[in-house]
């Protein structure tokens, strides 16, 4: 948080995920593994020590057969802006060694693996479980090291990692624009791997501050919501669902509260 | 911890926090130095040792 914490970021990259479209196929997760050199272990069935930068969570409406419904909820790092959008995301403010930081030019929360010493305070702070710890040394059996991408360094044991909105893709696009003497990136020039891979186009990515980008309008959809908005984490990942129970699952409500009514109240707080 | 690491910013939080730290370290350092030097002097002056009394 080097820059003054009072100014709004120039760009705020964010995502809008249409849960009505998402079929839960998992292509986003696999694309992310391949893009970001996420390792795998022989047993990945303990989801609490399985490294995923984006997880697709299966929610049900808890109703008995045949009124049961399921909804898949893809959860990348929410890239929180923090209270009052000052960049004090739950994790950035607690990291003792500045191994995770809020980038004011993009709104993206970074993670520096070589700086992290593995205290896991950020994981305790993140309510979205977006942060994953390298409990094990990563191993790529047989010739699998050959498919590792040089764009993202493999992480060593004992550090925390998380989704970066494929920041390396931003850097590549920015470098290209710089060479071509352009100041602005086109919307399609920078898209994270998960968004690009979504076969049903449920995910939209862009600059939330830029009216020319699709996310600018989408985030204001009447069924748009963010996860745990009431905690004032200010996530930059928005969701759209036509189902009320899904929207209700996105946050916590007292028995007499309902998602719609509260939204204006939460907004009024800052 | 030091002004030359790149995260360092001359803002209020750093000044208060690191000010407190260096203040505490200085007191401890000076206190210890004082004790050691005084003990050296005392030893040279061959002051009689009194057990107890503290």
């Amino acid at each position: 948080m080097k820059e003054s914490a009072t100014h709004e970021t120039a760009r705020r990259y964010g995502m809008v995920i249409d849960l009505d479209k998402c079929t839960g196929c998992g292509a986003c997760m696999v694309s992310c593994y391949a893009e970001n050199n996420v390792p795998f272990k022989k047993d990945e069935s303990n989801k609490l020590d399985s490294i995923n930068w984006i997880r697709v969570v299966k929610m049900t409406n808890q109703k008995p057969y045949p009124d049961t419904q399921i909804c898949y909820l893809p959860m990348p790092c929410m890239q929180c802006d923090g209270v009052g959008k000052h960049g004090h995301s739950p994790c950035v403010s607690v990291c003792p060694a500045v191994a995770t930081d809020y980038d004011f030019t993009t709104g993206i929360v970074s993670q520096i693996y070589t700086r992290c010493f593995g205290c896991r305070y950020c994981m305790a702070a993140c309510p979205y479980h977006a942060r994953k710890f390298n409990w094990w040394d990563p191993v790529w059996p047989a010739d699998m090291e050959k498919y590792l991408s040089p764009n993202v360094s493999p992480r060593m044991r004992g550090v925390v990692e998380k989704c970066s909105f494929c920041f390396h893709r931003y850097q590549l696009a920015r470098d290209k624009a710089y060479q071509e003497e352009r100041a602005e990136l086109e919307e399609n020039e920078y898209q994270p791997a998960c968004v690009e891979a979504c076969p049903v186009k449920a995910m939209t990515f862009g600059d939330l501050n830029n009216p020319a980008h699709a996310v600018y309008e989408l985030k204001n959809h009447k069924h748009a919501f963010r996860l745990l908005e009431r905690l004032e984490t200010n996530p930059k990942v928005y969701y759209i669902s036509s189902k009320e129970w899904v929207r209700r699952n996105g946050d916590n409500y007292l028995p007499d509260e309902a998602p719609g009514r509260l939204k204006s109240k939460a907004k009024a707080r800052h | 911890m030091f002004p030359f690491v790149f995260e360092w910013v001359w803002d209020m939080s750093h000044m208060v926090f690191m000010g407190g730290l260096w203040y505490a370290l200085t007191i401890m350092g000076l206190g210890l130095t004082y004790c050691i030097i005084k003990a050296l002097i005392d030893t040279r002056q061959k002051k009689g040792g009194t057990h107890g009394g503290h």
Binding site: K21, C25, A34, E35, E44, K47, P64, T114, P199, I240 | -
Partner: protein
């Protein structure tokens, strides 16, 4: 001064201590600390991927019949990522998790790195690497021997290659050799294609034009569960920016059902009956396509067949036998819902009914396929945009007619070992699932003396694993061409490993579309990693080793030269753009497109008539086992996160399997909480699952989305091969081992959709 021990020690300690204190004041400790921290950031066992020049190779995915276009990112000579290829007609930039995981097959630990000869007992896993010459002579010697014994027809080839040049080479090889026994897995498409043949007289591949449809009525098809390329689902499911209507009929809340506008929870095995109930409502309310039926259909109304015998038509049969009340009783779907579905289906602009459970791995029941196809006829969407098309199979693979010797002619004259294309099942091309029983019940020697397997893993995929294994034990010689150490490869005598699809040229026939068929070209993305050889080249080599006229029939220099020769004028196009479109074979008007004796769409339901494919007594597809001993119904289900067929799930996909499907090595069985309560079972309980065909240990997962009384297991687990590092070894249950096939009386296809089962707490 006398230095005693004490003084020496004191002095020594002082030196050490002083040294320590002194060094603390030097930069040394700080330097060491820094170096140590830097070392942790560069641990030699944490790989650092080499950077280099980037390039992209456009190719095609060969991991399922979808044939989606892929773009492979390379850094120098390494392939680092597979992504969807934009503007490719198949997939259009979208890829499923399986396609995205392709590099794990290429570089993974399950590869067979050179030809291998078995040295231990079968299945023991003891191998000796041998040269390609030796491997080919192993096969050719065996094949020569069979011909010498005048038993060429005892050679069988189980092939996963269905279309294209490789399939053509395999067909040709067996023909020239003298065996009718090319065996391929039958899928739901075989049933629906046969339904189209019975009603329209056209042989080809049925294609549901869901891209142009605005309403899909799906009878259990896993549209969003990986059965179909997800990119084809554009517009489904409905979302904020509009979309089309999907109704899913299924006993279990699958991902497709979850995304549907309406999930119709019909009793499993009664989907076809529901289709007829819907047909009933359409006919009764006169909301079917009267114009089409009147002008283009025959057998709809009652007819007179010479004398006084009245031939019952489809209309009166459906009106009589499939009243909504009765259908509701069978299917468990409320009467209102049947009316509602029928009306919505009938009134939609471009509606299509589709079928094929899950990924469509099991061919299924002809009655059901026909019932769904009839529904489309009632809608009048045959050969209409947004409806059903029969697309002719590609015909670009044309080899010169080979010469044949007496032995070959004799062998070809024998009946097929699986009974397909016989008098009993004249319209079914392959009936692989019948093979084990035929071998196991044969008198004397096995009718299959040598088995070649390519692109398939029959030991895993054919139902009733125990009997499959038993039958394989009776086959004296098994050779596998698999690039992976799969179950069948492990159980073979020789392995002649093929390249993976990322290491060689291969023509891939993608799924059809309204514009015809797309043939894509898989290109060598990387040079072959190991001592493997292209199956096409190996066939040519084997033919060469067999010599004589067989060699002459395969006089190509290599597969690659054959490929180039085959595409001839199209070679330029297919290498540069990656695909070509094959000439659409859809005749322009409906009238000319029906090839039946009446030149009309035939509702051929006449009960008892030998040629009638449809049984008018159709109520529910049969299921094995008695309700007394087996009170529950086990159904297999397909998931997009599990490759249920061949090859086995890659580690990335195993990583995305929910922990409610696989927990450590335990496969989870889905059971409705109400049923579980009756059985006093709770989440996570270890139970024994028994069916008439076998038993397995599973773990309980309570799932509201599965019908009470029904339990569900995923396909694709329970592998006993591939490397342990592949992460699938010994995990979960292979549901194929717990189910036997049930023969459809008309087609001979396996129509088993479930089996009776019971759960006992361990």
């Amino acid at each position: 001064m006398k230095i005693d021990r004490r003084k020496f020690l004191a002095g020594f300690s002082a030196c050490v201590g002083g040294g320590a204190v002194g060094s603390m004041l030097s930069p040394l400790p700080w330097k060491v600390m820094d170096d140590v921290a830097i070392w942790t950031q560069n641990w030699p066992w944490t790989p650092v991927p080499q950077d280099g020049r980037y390039s992209y190779v456009q190719s095609v995915c060969a991991l399922c019949p979808g044939g989606c276009g892929i773009s492979v990112r390379k850094v120098k000579s390494r392939a680092v990522k597979i992504e969807g290829l934009k503007d490719h007609p198949a997939g259009n930039g979208g890829l499923c998790p399986l396609g995205l995981s392709g590099l794990q097959y290429l570089y993974g630990p399950a590869r067979v790195k050179s030809p291998l000869k078995r040295v231990g007992k079968r299945g023991e896993g003891k191998w000796q690497p041998i040269s390609w010459d030796a491997a080919i002579s192993e096969v050719s010697q065996k094949l020569n021997e069979l011909r010498a014994r005048n038993k060429p027809h005892s050679l069988a080839w189980i092939s996963g290659e269905n279309k294209g040049i490789l399939a053509g080479l395999i067909d040709r090889f067996l023909k020239v050799y003298g065996s009718p026994n090319v065996l391929r897995d039958s899928t739901a498409h075989d049933a629906i294609d046969q339904a189209a043949y019975h009603t329209q007289g056209q042989r080809g591949t049925v294609f549901w034009d869901i891209e142009n449809a605005d309403f899909i009525l799906s009878f259990g098809a896993g549209l969003m569960d990986g059965g179909w390329p997800l990119a084809r689902m554009n517009g489904f499911p409905k979302s904020a920016d509009g979309g089309k209507t999907l109704i899913q009929v299924e006993a279990r809340l699958s991902d497709t059902a979850a995304k549907a506008d309406l999930w119709v929870a019909a009793n499993p095995g009664t989907e076809g009956v529901l289709a007829l109930g819907i047909a009933h409502v359409m006919i009764r309310e006169l909301i079917y396509n009267i114009d089409f039926i009147n002008r283009q259909a025959s057998g709809f109304e009652d007819g007179v067949m010479g004398g006084d015998q009245v031939l019952q038509g489809f209309k009166s049969m459906v009106l009589e036998k499939y009243k909504p009340e009765k259908v509701s009783g069978i299917t468990g779907v409320p009467v209102d819902a049947i009316f509602d579905i029928a009306r919505r289906f009938a009134k939609s602009d471009k509606a299509v009914a589709v079928c094929g459970r899950g990924h469509g791995r099991v061919a299924g029941c002809m009655d059901e396929a026909l019932a769904v196809h009839y529904l489309n006829a009632l809608k009048g969407n045959i050969h209409q945009p947004g409806g059903v098309f029969v697309v002719a199979d590609p015909d670009y693979v044309r080899f010169p007619e080979p010469g044949m010797d007496k032995i070959a002619e004799y062998g070809l004259g024998q009946t097929r070992v699986d009974g397909a294309q016989s008098e009993k099942f004249p319209n079914s091309r392959y009936l692989l699932h019948r093979l084990p029983e035929i071998i196991n019940t044969a008198d004397g020697d096995s009718p299959v003396q040598a088995l070649l397997v390519s692109g398939a893993n029959p030991l895993y995929t054919i139902p009733d694993g125990k009997s499959v294994k038993k039958s394989f034990d009776k086959i004296p010689f098994i050779a596998s061409f698999s690039p992976f150490m799969d179950e069948t490869a492990v159980y073979s005598d020789v392995i002649l490993p093929d390249h993976t699809y990322l290491e060689c040229y291969r023509d891939i026939v993608s799924q059809g579309s309204m514009d015809g068929i797309v043939v894509s070209l898989a290109k060598p993305v990387v040079r072959p990693l190991y001592n493997t050889s292209h199956l096409g080249d190996v066939i040519i080599q084997i033919a060469k080793a067999l010599g004589g006229y067989i060699e002459t029939a395969f006089a190509w220099k290599s597969y690659e030269s054959l490929l180039e020769e085959t595409f001839a004028d199209n070679w330029e196009t297919i290498t540069s753009s990656g695909y070509i479109r094959m000439n659409p074979q859809i005749p322009g008007t409906v009238a000319t497109s029906f090839n039946t004796p009446s030149k009309k769409f035939e509702f051929n339901i006449n009960a008892g008539a030998p040629e009638a494919p449809f049984s008018s007594a159709f109520e529910k597809i049969a299921m094995e086992g008695d309700a007394q001993n087996y009170p529950l119904t086990l159904i297999p289900y397909d998931s997009i996160r599990l490759a249920g067929n061949y090859p086995a799930n890659p580690p990335f996909m195993t990583k995305i399997i929910d922990d409610t499907v696989l927990k450590k090595t335990h496969g989870c069985i889905e059971i409705n909480p109400a049923t579980a309560k009756q059985l006093r079972l709770s989440e996570g309980d270890a139970v024994k699952l028994s069916t008439p065909r076998g038993e397995a240990d599973v773990q309980i997962h309570l799932y509201e989305g599965v019908m009470p009384g029904v339990i569900a297991l995923p396909r694709g687990l329970g592998h006993t091969a591939y490397s342990e590092e592949w992460g699938l070894y010994g995990k979960g249950v292979n549901v194929n081992d717990l189910m036997g096939p049930i023969e459809d009386p008309v087609s001979g296809f396996n129509m088993a959709w479930g089996i009776r089962a019971k759960l006992t707490k361990i």
